[in-house]
Every structure is written in structure tokens, then in C-alpha cells.
Amino acid sequence: MKKIEAIIKPFVLDPVKDALKEIEIYGMTVTEVKGFGQQKGHTELYRGAEYQIDFVPKTRIEIVVPDAKVEAAIEAICQAAGSGKIGDGKIFVSPVETAIRIRTGERGESAL
């Protein structure tokens, strides 16, 4: 079981969600976040004065999937969120010890 955390551009959230649905990943947690990577921030102009905006709005999705689906999920996200331009985002994968469905007490992959 792995947790996949993807930081993506806000406007690709829907395509990413649909792509994950197609490979039968139905649950996700979504958070609006701000930050920067290689893209750095951007500047805005107000009455000709430049304002440096360091933290760019991004969307973070978190999903937990069985080991067998990890590569498919990564590919789906890259396909749906990639534009080939700087600022597309990043994906982080980490191991998850277990999962528990609170309603039934099920554990492990059957709780996903």
C-alpha cells in the first residue's frame, strides 16, 4: 500500500480526478495549497508597480492505493496534469503501514 501525494495546477484537478476514476481509484483528499518549486513565484503589476508573489496557488491530492496500482496511478496523473511546461507539479510516493475503515473496522487493502 502506498500513499501518492501529487501537487498539481489547480485547473487540472478535474482531468486528474477523471483519469484516476478510469483506473478505478475512487477516493481522494484534495487540499488547496500554496508554494513554490523551480517555477518560483510570479509577478503582478498594479499601477505599474511590480509585486513579487512568492507562493503560487496549487492543489494537493492525496490517494492511497494497493502496490499493484501505483505505477498506473502515477501514469494517469502525469498524463492528465502534464503540459510539458514548468510548474506542472510533483508526485511523492511513500509507504503506508495500514489502512482502517472506521465504519467496519476492516484493515489493509480491503479498507481502501
Binding site: L45, G48, A49, Y51
Partner: protein, 428 residues
Amino acid sequence: MKRGLTFLSLLVALPWAAYAGPADSGDTAWILTSTALVLFMTLPGLALFYGGLVGSKNVLSVLMQCFAITSLVSLLWLAGLYSVAFAEGNGFMGGFSKAMFAGMGTQSLTGTIPEAAFALFQLTFAVITPALIVGAFAERMKFSAMLIFSGLWVAVVYAPVTHWVWGGGWLGEMGLLDFAGGTVVHITAGVAALVAALVVGPRRTFPRTSTPPHNMTMTVTGAGMLWVGWFGFNGGSALGANGSSAMAMLVTHISAAAGSLAWMALEWRKFGKPSVLGIVTGMVAGLGTITPACGFVGPGGALLIGLIAGVVCFNATNLIKVRLKIDDSLDVFPVHGVGGIIGTLMAGFFASTELGVFSGFGFGKGIESLGQQLMVQATGVLATGVYAGVVSFGLFKLTDALVGLRVDEEQEVMGLDLTQHEERGYIL
């Protein structure tokens, strides 16, 4: 109708102040309406315009400053400043015979309108002028210092200058054309704003990472209210409901439209995008600039005044903020001060009746040539600008000695809403 004609002939036959009939109901109704429109410019127009332009941690402080100035100046106007501005006195200030609005009853008239309407209409001008200055020291001034400075400033700068121009003082006697406050309102406030920016100093983050406007929607809402309210500001300054007030409103509208498009076009060309803040700022520039001229110039003159306002104020804003790096935070001087200066000068020019389609309605009383009128206008600009600059500087130094002008660094970082008022604008 016959009664109306009698009024008119009386008006022609008698000097203005000696008119002693009952108040003209049409004139009175329009001035009462204009009074409401001008108050609406400050609350909530200017408050929202400025409130949107600051960071979200300072939005309440700006709204509060506009509100508190409104209340404070209103009472000072009652106590004695109306008298300093409009009572009989010498060329430089009125006496105190009208302090506490002494002698003002329901039958007292100023021209053809009740004196109560005149005094209240003028009060709304006295309110918005110091409120304009707030934009220069936004996001760093102590609330107590703002109150002390604003109260003193209205007493020592605004009220006397009003007397000079409109209260029977020396500039008015000279034949200065200032229909609705290019010198009285915009030059005094604009120059005081520049002095404020220099004396108070820049925001700690200026110019590298100063906070951008936190709510442009609020700013555009306030800007729209300013445009509408300005009809009362300029149209009401005819002090009657007549051809002069109608023409003042018409040229005001044309100048606002021309100023906004001029600014938008320049920004589009220079920075690649036509910005929302650009178009509304151009509107304010067009409105401020036509203010002194609006009763004296025609629609053609207004078009040129508005276009010139957009171009000159746009470049002035870049010069002050970007090149000279003076943190007049909400650009009060380059828009209002510069607009007031060029508007007062252009009022003299476009008042000429010999400019073809760009003609106006004639020079000031006793003035015969364009050159003479322009000299008087330049004198008005210099006198009000220098006086406002020098006295504002003194008042900031005095306020600094009394309570200190700025909040400390930690308070500035936390924002004025929490540190000055213990409230937040948004709890989301």
C-alpha cells in the same frame, strides 16, 4: 412660472448675498441630493476604493480611518471650521461669527438655498479631503496619530484655503477659477499626501514585496461609487439646479470616461495588459482633473482635459512610485495632486470662448485675457500647493512629537486591523 421669473429678475438685479426671498425649492432639492452624493463618495465609496487596495490585514484600518474622519471633521465643522471657511473675515480666514453655526435658522439663506444645506454640502467636502490623504500613509500609521493629524489639518489647511477660494478670500477675489475644488480639495490633499509619504516613510516591505491589493472587487465597487458621487460634488458646486450644474455634470462624465480609457490604453501599450486597476485609476484622474474646470469648460474641452489627465497622471504615478521610489501607497499625489494642478491650469485655458469646438464659458470676474487668467490659475496652484506642503510638514512633525506617527515593526507585520483595533476584516 411668473413667480419664477420674478426670482430670476431679483437675482439679476441684486447682489448674490443680498437675495432675501424664500429658498428656491428646485435649487434646494438638488443641493440636498448632492450633499448625500458627496457623503456617499467617502462612505462607502472612497473607503471601499482604498480598502480593497491594501492588504487583507489592514482593510479595517482604512475603513475605520475614513469613518472616523467623517465623524470628527463633521463636529469640527460645526464647532468653528465652517466659520473659518465661510464667515466674514479678512482675505486669509473667516472670523468665528458662525461658530456652532451661530445665527443659522430655518430661514437663513446662502444664495437661493438654505444656509443649513450650504453648510452641510460644504461639510461633505471638508470630510473627503483629509480622507483622501489616508491613502498615502496606509498600512503603517498609528490610528491616534491619524486622528490628531487629520483634525489639525482640516483646521489649519483645509478651512483657510477654502476661505481663500470660496469664502470671499484673496484667491477668489483675484478671479481664480476653481469650480468644485481643484485647489481646495485635490491640490491640498495631494500635496499633503506627498509630504506624508516622505515624512512617515515607506512601508517596511516597500518596494520589493509590498502587498498587492487584497480585493480588487471592493476597489472597483468603490470606484463606481466615486464616479456617481462626483455628479453631486461637481454638479452641486453650482449651488443651484440650473444650466451650470447640468453642464458641470456633463463635462465631469466626459472627462471620467476619457481619463479611464487613456490610462487603460497607455498601460496596455507599456505593460501588455489593460488592467482593471488602471481603468478605474484613470477614471479618478479624469474626475479629479475636471473638478476645478467643470463649471467653466465645454464638452470638447472636457474631452481633452480627461485625456490629458489620464496621460499625465499615469506617467506621474510611474515617476513617483517606480522611479523615485516614494511610497505614497495608494498614489494620492500623482492622481489627485497632479490632477488638481493640471486641472486648475487647464480650467484657465479651456474657459476661453475662442477655441472653437473646445471653447468654454469665459474667464473669471474682471479678467480679460487668457494670459492673465493663466497667471491667476498658476498663482492659485502655487499658493495652495506651497501652503499645504509647508503646513502639512509642520503638522506631521507636531503629531510625531505628540504620539509618534508609525506603529512599530511587529505591529506593521501583524497588520493594523489586529494591532490598532483588535479586529479582523475577514474570519474565513
